[in-house]
């Protein structure tokens, strides 16, 4: 395995840009398809990215999605500048939401975003600083899902 990923993709995400919400993730889908990522893997990647993208659109001012395709995995980092998450553990609970009416009117904001992300990613790390923003790092293994014990 080389030091460079097979493909590196970057997408800016604008907060409050409701019309564009989801557009980075559908662009990513096409790019991953072109990069030869398997359908089941890219579907998991894009579901998690769509939820993460909508979190940025609904909660933050601006954000960034960066994706690296490796032979054995896809790595995604979503960073935003915004209010951050006060209690990450609480935010991970299905149904917990601080989303606005506006979020609900777009079909989101039911408190399933982070739980959905956790369900679709093989590995997930969340760093948050209140008043600064959130950084999500996700790993998706290609060629079958793995648990942490496998190498």
């Amino acid at each position: 395995m080389g030091d460079k990923p097979l493909a590196h993709l970057e997408y800016p995400v604008l907060g409050r840009a409701y019309f564009l919400g989801g557009r980075a993730s559908t662009s990513l889908r096409r790019a991953l398809l072109q990069a030869g990522v398997e359908e089941d893997v890219l579907q998991r990647v894009c579901v998690a990215c769509y939820e993460a993208e909508m979190n940025v659109v609904l909660h933050a001012r601006t954000g960034y999605m960066s994706v690296d395709v490796w032979p054995d995995r896809v790595e995604v980092c979503v960073t935003d500048h915004g209010p951050g998450i006060e209690d990450v553990e609480l935010a991970m609970q299905p149904g917990y939401s601080t989303a606005s009416e506006e979020a609900r009117s777009l079909g989101f904001g039911a408190g399933m975003g982070l739980p959905n992300i956790r369900q679709h990613a093989d590995e997930l790390a969340i760093e948050s600083k209140v008043g600064e923003g959130v950084r999500l790092v996700m790993t998706f293994w290609r060629g079958g899902r793995r648990d942490g014990s496998e190498q």
Binding site: F19, G21, V47, Y50, E51, G107, F108, M112, N116
Partner: protein, 121 residues
Amino acid sequence: MEAVGAEALVPAGEPDRLVTGCFAADLMSDVLAFAQPGCLLITGLAKDQAVRSAAIKNLAAVLVVGGKEVDHEMIEAAQEEGVPLYRTGLSKYEACGVLMQAGYPPCGAPALRGQEAARGC
């Protein structure tokens, strides 16, 4: 689509995509979590996010129910994503009932329907 008297706002390209079943939701997180590729999304959400969710999950088409007004942004998104978009005046419950009777199986949420049903689509 004739079964529910739907009008095509963004028609399917050629060849028409095979609809393997149906999934109904207004909550996009449910679509992302449970809808299966190839199914028709029946939704009351007349927003471009419904189309983008369908694109992410490789669904066959989106049917907006309740005769809701579909704005230009949703139509634009459907064209951009290549997702056929339909609208019916029937309510969601009616549209689901008609499509179920027309033989379209439920397609999604296998965890809620059990393993046997999951294999069906």
